[in-house]
């Protein structure tokens, strides 16, 4: 089975991200593969193993995003492709979906395209379903478990209310969640292979698509109001006394 894992590069989740002069700044924090997309790569690799298939990691981003693709290669992906073009600055999710769909076609299609649930930066979580819609393929979102049987795929979707089992014909687009299993660590061999890999870079001209005009644009960037939090530690002679004082404090805040 031919599988494509779509990934993005984002500032590490420990980064102190803030708005500075109208730009998002994350200081010297490293850029990493979007943590949700590590699950996508893991899910793709599980299917590769189950079906004796191949995994191609696909990313839109600047040249530096090759590092995120190398992480996917080190985990066990067979190939990687970067789509990079100055005209992609300010891309919105609809544009991303159109560019990804074009790249998926140029790769030669796939039986399954796997995404993470959302990205850590924009966090919209729209791109998987939009890519499915552009391709005209079924969307199986928030999969916690994937089973492929011939030309069909069945997933267990993790939704607010529990789990929903949904099936579709391949090719299909999936997004996966944490229940898929812990992303594997890159092996030593994997890291060596990844460091030697040459990653093709495709421009919009290579894909034969015009620069998508963004429908959604940012007007302003702000830091959230800082919370004055000095903790008041409640003490007492016994748990009962502490609990009594704490309950009074909470009731006085009128949050119940």
């Amino acid at each position: 089975m031919k599988i494509i894992a779509c990934i993005k590069q984002v500032p590490d989740s420990e980064a102190k991200v803030k708005a500075e002069n109208g730009q998002v700044s994350w200081g010297d924090a490293p850029l990493v593969i979007n943590p949700f997309d590590e699950y996508a790569v893991e899910g793709a690799l599980q299917q590769k193993e189950a079906t004796n298939g191949t995994v191609t990691a696909l990313c839109i981003g600047p040249e530096s995003a090759k590092e995120a693709l190398k992480h996917a290669l080190a985990m066990g992906a067979d190939e990687a492709v970067l789509v990079s073009d100055p005209a992609l600055d300010g891309l919105d999710t609809l544009g991303a979906a159109r560019v990804l769909a074009a790249a998926i076609q140029k790769i030669g299609g796939a039986d399954m395209v796997v995404f993470g649930r959302q990205t850590l930066d924009n966090g919209a979580g729209l791109t998987p379903a939009q890519t499915a819609r552009v391709l005209g393929w079924p969307m199986l979102g928030l999969a916690g478990q994937i089973k492929v049987d011939g030309g069909n795929v069945t997933v267990e979707r993790v939704i607010e209310e529990g789990r929903q089992t949904v099936s579709a014909k391949l090719p299909a687009v999936l997004s996966v969640v944490q229940s898929i299993g812990e992303p594997r660590y890159p092996s030593f061999m994997g890291i060596r292979k990844a460091s030697k890999a040459t990653i093709p870079v495709w421009s919009l001209a290579d894909l034969g698509v015009a620069a998508p005009a963004a429908v959604v644009t940012r007007a302003e960037l702000m830091n959230p109001p800082s919370r004055e939090t000095t903790v008041e530690i409640i003490t007492g002679e016994s748990p009962a006394e502490i609990a009594d004082k704490l309950a009074d404090k909470i009731l006085a805040e009128k949050v119940l």
Partner: protein, 329 residues
């Protein structure tokens, strides 16, 4: 301004944030509620009671189970036919997909997790958290209709007016589906963390009580029982850290944080949770945060308004008792 409000429900149980969206729509002008499903006229009636001027009801056996494609196609067709200026949704797993797909059909954009929405002339400006809430952006959509999914509890819920009615319009479903729903394993206690006003969460600390003489899992179950009892006295929901979920103490649907749910209750009580950044991004917008932890240096105390340095196995039951007395339960 004409606004569509998509009423999200699971097997007839409406996500309360749908009504918050209806309230917001009314503040801009006329509100048309969209109710999709099979056997859902009860929801249409509720929509009138929460303020809808009109309900577009698509009641069709093909829409019994939510599936992205037919729901999106139905929405796109309705939007194309009556050109609303704005379509509002509560933010849920379903609406993210549905809005995403419909936006492709309509060539417009979706603003997700919106916490404020203002009309600036004839432009709508949405405020939304990005980078896990470390930064906020104001964002606009040049397409039409503007689509926005609202974060639960960010907008006030309108009061229902019993018996209120309006115009009920029936519409056709676009039933072409690409997926089959094979079945459900619905959680026994559906946890609605995003809508909860009070959340009591347990972390890895719930399994740490050697004096019980039980194994790890049995201790953790006892610990979560204490968490649950406090939550129930406060009329709240039970949350958890990822460490507790990964250890199998409690299902993933209870997880708060970066890879779980982002919540904004009025009161969040964290017991036996250290306060890793991936947990904090999920709960730091709570109005009041209370932490119970054995370790006085645990980072959770930097976010908390009140703290107790102590054993959750002693403090939680005492707190439950104290609230029982004070709340007359």
């Amino acid at each position: 301004m004409k606004t569509f409000v998509y009423i999200d429900h699971f097997k007839g149980a409406v996500q309360p944030a749908s009504w918050e969206a209806l309230g917001l729509a009314k503040s801009f002008g006329s509100a048309v509620a969209l109710v999709f499903g099979s056997g859902v006229d009860g929801i249409a009636q509720s929509a009138f009671e929460f303020g809808a001027d009109e309900v577009l009801l698509v009641d069709d056996p093909a829409l019994l189970d939510y599936r992205a494609e037919p729901f999106a196609s139905t929405l796109s067709a309705l939007a194309a036919a009556s050109s609303p200026d704005l379509i509002l949704f509560p933010t849920t797993a379903r609406t993210r997909e549905l809005a995403a797909m419909s936006a492709v059909d309509l060539g417009t954009g979706v603003l997700t997790d919106v916490i404020a929405l203002e009309a600036n002339g004839n432009q709508l400006v949405a405020t939304r958290p990005i980078y896990e809430g470390k930064v906020l952006e104001k964002t606009v959509c040049s397409g039409k209709p503007v689509m926005a999914t609202l974060r639960a509890r960010a907008f006030p819920k309108p009061a229902a007016e019993a018996g209120r009615t309006g115009t009920l319009t029936k519409a056709e479903a676009r039933a072409e589906a690409l997926t089959n729903v094979e079945g459900y394993a619905v959680a026994e206690n559906v946890v609605n963390l995003t809508d909860a006003g009070v959340i009591v969460s347990g972390g890895r600390g719930v399994s740490n009580n050697p004096s019980l003489g039980l194994d790890e899992m049995a201790t953790a179950h006892k610990g979560f029982e204490l968490v649950g009892e406090l939550a129930s006295v406060l009329g709240g929901a039970v949350g958890a850290s990822r460490a507790a979920v990964d250890a199998g103490y409690i299902p993933y649907s209870n997880q708060v944080g970066q890879t779980g749910k982002v919540v904004s209750p009025d009161l969040y009580i964290a017991a036996g949770i250290s306060g890793a950044i991936q947990h904090l991004v999920g709960m730091r917008n709570a109005k009041l945060i209370v932490a119970i932890n054995k370790d006085a240096d645990a980072p959770i105390f930097t976010q908390a308004r009140y703290g107790v340095v102590g054993d959750l196995f002693a403090i939680l039951p005492a707190l439950t008792e104290a609230f029982k007395k004070k709340l007359g339960k």
